[in-house]
């Protein structure tokens, strides 16, 4: 119709999606076997994971090739942006489920087990000696553990992630102002900070298991601690991989311009999102 119309690129067939479906099938089916102690499980999971990596590589290669050859209109750019935003929103809701569990345990289930509200009889009948405290270092059934203090590693990690968000912003300014040295330096620095965060997190886990006796199965405090920090750590890992791929695309392939760099921005959005999740974690899991 009008002169301003740009063609919206619709790819002609692709075998990657069904490879991706097969990969996730193998991973899910394998994981289900694995947790049931069936030895075929880890094999299926590994094959599925390999297939998933292959799929991601192939699919993104296609997308990058199409983008570089100018097939994508501005409208397509909007699709990617909106898609990424909704994806991050879904991730927020995923973390929301675990934060919800944390709040419910702290505000409702643990106090109720000690007789809060009209639950005096519950406390009397079930575990009369139980005392509601948070962090829950002694469960109703008597399992004891220690709380993870927020000073030390968690505080350092908070600073690391906050700084990494700032360095990423400097990298972004580098791409926009066409200063490749600034871009490369700060992007690399961001990735290194992410890896430092993960290393310290790993060290903290070892410390929790070996010295504090704080484990995944140490009652609802340990449950929420490890699942929240664990899923967050997984997201930092994904974010760091995402940024590394972007770094390689810039350093090796010379992708992205001052105007068109949505791949970079998507990775940056994801990184900032992971950072915000951590701030909530730091406040609600460690400090309060």
């Amino acid at each position: 119709m009008s002169a301003g119309y740009q063609h919206y690129y619709v790819p002609h067939q692709s075998h990657w999606p069904i490879v991706g479906a097969a990969a996730l099938f193998l991973m899910g089916y394998g994981a289900a076997h694995w947790v049931n102690d069936d030895l075929i499980g880890p094999i299926l999971l590994a094959v599925g994971f390999g297939l998933l990596l292959l799929m991601l590589f192939g699919w993104f290669s296609n997308v990058i090739d199409e983008s570089m050859s100018g097939l994508y209109s501005e409208q397509m750019d909007h699709s990617f942006r909106q898609g990424m935003s909704w994806f991050i929103f879904s991730e927020i809701m995923f973390f929301g489920a675990f934060f919800g569990a944390l709040f419910y345990a702290r505000m409702i289930s643990v106090p109720w087990l000690d007789g809060a509200g009209d639950n005096a009889m519950t406390a009397q009948v079930l575990w009369p000696d139980f005392e509601a405290i948070w962090p829950l270092i002694k469960t109703p059934s008597g399992l004891e553990t220690h709380a993870m203090p927020w000073e030390g590693i968690p505080l350092i990690n908070t600073i690391i992630l906050l700084v990494s968000s700032i360095t990423l912003q400097f990298a972004h300014m580098g791409i926009e102002q066409q200063k490749p040295a600034q871009l490369g330096f700060f992007l690399m620095l961001t990735i290194i900070l992410g890896i430092c965060f993960l290393a310290l997190q790993g060290y903290e886990y070892v410390h929790a298991y070996e010295e504090l006796g704080l484990r995944l199965d140490s009652g609802v405090y340990g449950n929420t601690f490890f699942l929240l920090t664990g899923f967050h750590g997984l997201h930092v890992t994904l974010g760091a991989i995402f940024l590394t791929v972007i770094f390689l695309r810039i350093a090796v392939k010379g992708h992205f311009t001052a105007e068109k760099h949505f791949g970079f921005q998507a990775a940056a959005w994801y990184w900032h999102f992971v950072d915000v999740v951590w701030l909530n974690l730091f406040v609600f899991v460690y400090v309060l």
Binding site: M1, S2, Y5, H7, Y8, V10, P11, Q13, S14, H15, W16, P17, I18, G20, A21, L24, F25, M27, G28, Y29, A31, A32, H33, V35, N36, W59, Q75, S79, Q82, G83, W86, F87, F89, S90, M93, F94, G96, A97, F98, G100, A101, Y104, A105, I108, S109, V110, L113, G117, D118, L126, T139, P140, S141, L216, D217, G219, V220, N223, T224, L227
Partner: protein, 539 residues
């Protein structure tokens, strides 16, 4: 009804099937690798039809067992597996994919888009579903059988008292969730970003509007479901105690998180049906939809309220009284926007030049029968009354009225309405009417008496019952078998159309239908609106 309508493009074409040169890929790879929204829509719809019969055959097992008191055919554990997998298959395999399929087919046509915004991801969303259901249904053949904790998989039934199938169930749900989230993202981005120039927000057909809101609900709550199944997994296999009081958790916490997902899920399964009915009623009443803006606002209000009513599923769990009252009142509030919708549909028909082809028959049945389901929902919302209804057949009657005569009838109405556009041939009206009347009578034989046995105290999910319920249950089972058989007429209708048996459909198809989808030929060419149409006026 539509012979006088012009056929814009294909009127000169001879009577072979693909009048327009579509560059359609051939063979199996067309379906495996497709990025075409129509192909993917077809795949979704056929998959959901297959799942409808899979879940339906499980319902037949349930009704056969309940035909007489005492244990006849299956043992109680298998009965529980049947109720559980029936629910899961119908919710995640039949109803939701059918709506996604309809959205895939119709949303780009309705807004003048060349395809879905992210066509490859669209294919991925679909093919994850057969994978997920392969995992889920494989548990029927494993030692100890399929999940048997009910489709709501309450703990500790799904943790302490379940077998190995829990892990398979959890990962199957993860795949379904990934599929739903990606499908919803695709639909929402398509609507936000690919509307033809001039297709402003308040010109969107209501089916598109209801799908924007449904997609938002899906993206918001499917991750919460993923979270809760993950906690079930770690509770069962990794020693966590989210839902175990001995470790400081709470089994009731499971119900809160589950229903925070579960209640918006209920609206995910009905809002697109509202959109379908809002397309059909004006077409056959030959009047514009009454109260378009109020329909949009009502849909959004229902979606908002769906987030603050979840604990009405849990009135008997011992919540504080303040919480019971809060959830009772918010639940009752939903009757307001729902009432607006029902009023608007009826007002649309008021003094319309009505005809009663099959889509309209199903739409009218939807309006009446869904409203019955809504009323029983209002009864269930009353906290003190719910103490009596909880876990009885009254609840079963309620949610089957909203999901079978609501969601499923909406889908069936939509299929009759749009299948001429998809296949290029009119369905057989005689077959359609026969299907409608058989379904209408049998579905009410099936579900209406459940209200009475429920009020009299017959518990749900139990393979046996007290003798005084025997006659009613025999009657219900006969209704169930007849309803199951009636759906074979639907399959016959669909396959006649797919095999192009029937009168050729015009582009307009229905005299009173409005919208972009009726301006393209029937069958819709493989690619449509590669250049966006110009939208001038009205909706």
């Amino acid at each position: 009804m539509n012979q006088e309508n012009i056929q814009p493009i294909d009127s000169t074409a001879p009577h072979h099937h693909d009048q327009v040169d579509d560059h359609k890929p051939r063979g199996i790879s067309r379906w495996l690798y497709t990025t075409n929204h129509k192909d993917i829509g077809t795949l979704y719809l056929l998959f959901s039809l297959l799942m409808l019969f899979t879940g339906g055959s499980m319902a037949m097992v349930i009704r056969a067992e309940l035909f007489q008191p005492g244990l006849q055919f299956v043992d109680p554990h298998f009965f529980n597996q049947m109720t559980t997998v029936h629910g899961l298959v119908m919710v995640f395999g039949a109803i939701m994919p059918a709506f996604v399929g309809l959205a895939n087919w119709m949303v780009p046509l309705m807004i003048g888009a060349p395809d879905m915004a992210l066509p490859r991801m669209n294919n991925w969303s679909f093919w994850l579903l057969p994978c997920a259901f392969t995992i889920l249904l494989s548990t029927l053949f494993m030692e100890g059988g399929a999940p048997a904790a009910g489709w709501t998989f309450y703990v500790p039934l799904s943790t302490t008292y379940s077998n190995d199938s829990t892990a398979f169930f959890v990962f199957a749900v993860h795949l379904m969730g990934i599929s739903s989230i990606m499908g919803a993202m695709n639909i929402i981005v398509t609507i936000f970003n690919l509307r033809a120039p001039g297709m402003t927000w308040m010109k969107l057909p209501l089916f598109v509007w209801t799908w924007i809101i449904t997609a938002f609900l899906l993206i918001a709550v499917m991750p919460v479901l993923a979270g809760v199944v993950t906690m079930v997994l770690t509770d069962k296999y990794f020693g966590t105690s989210f839902f175990n009081a001995a470790g400081g958790g709470d089994p009731v916490m499971f119900q809160h998180i589950f229903w925070f997902f579960g209640h918006p899920e209920v609206y995910i399964m009905i809002l697109p049906a509202f959109g379908i009915i809002s397309s059909i009623v004006p077409a056959f009443a030959r009047k514009p939809l009454f109260g378009y803006e109020s329909m949009v606002i009502a849909t959004a209000s229902i979606a908002f309220l769906s987030f603050i009513v979840w604990a009405h599923h849990m009135f008997t769990t011992g919540m504080p009284v303040a919480a019971e009252l809060f959830f009772m009142y918010t639940t009752m509030l939903i009757a307001v926007p729902t009432g607006v919708k029902v009023f608007n549909w009826v007002a649309t028909m008021w003094r319309g030049a009505m005809t009663f082809e099959t889509p309209m028959m199903f739409a009218i049945a939807f309006i009446v029968l869904f409203t019955i389901g809504g009323f029983s929902g209002l009864m269930l919302a009353i906290t003190p009354a719910d103490f009596q209804y909880q876990d009885t057949y009254f609840v079963v009657a309620h949610f089957h009225y909203v999901l079978v005569t609501g969601a499923l009838f909406g889908i069936i109405a939509g299929v009759y309405f749009w299948i001429p556009k998809w296949t290029g041939v009119m369905y057989s009206e005689r077959l359609g009417q026969c299907h409608f009347w058989c379904s209408l009578v049998s579905v009410n034989m099936l579900f209406f008496p459940m209200h009475f046995v429920g009020l009299a105290g017959m518990p749900r999910r139990i393979p046996d019952y007290a003798l005084q319920f025997a006659d009613m249950n025999a009657f219900i089972s006969i209704g169930g078998f007849l309803f199951g058989l009636s759906q074979l007429l639907f399959v016959a209708m669909v396959f006649r159309c797919i095999r192009r048996k029937g009168e050729k459909a015009s582009a307009q198809v229905w005299e009173g239908a409005e919208g972009l989808e009726w301006q393209i030929p029937s069958p819709a060419p493989y690619h449509t609106f590669q250049i966006p149409p110009d939208i001038k006026s009205g909706h």
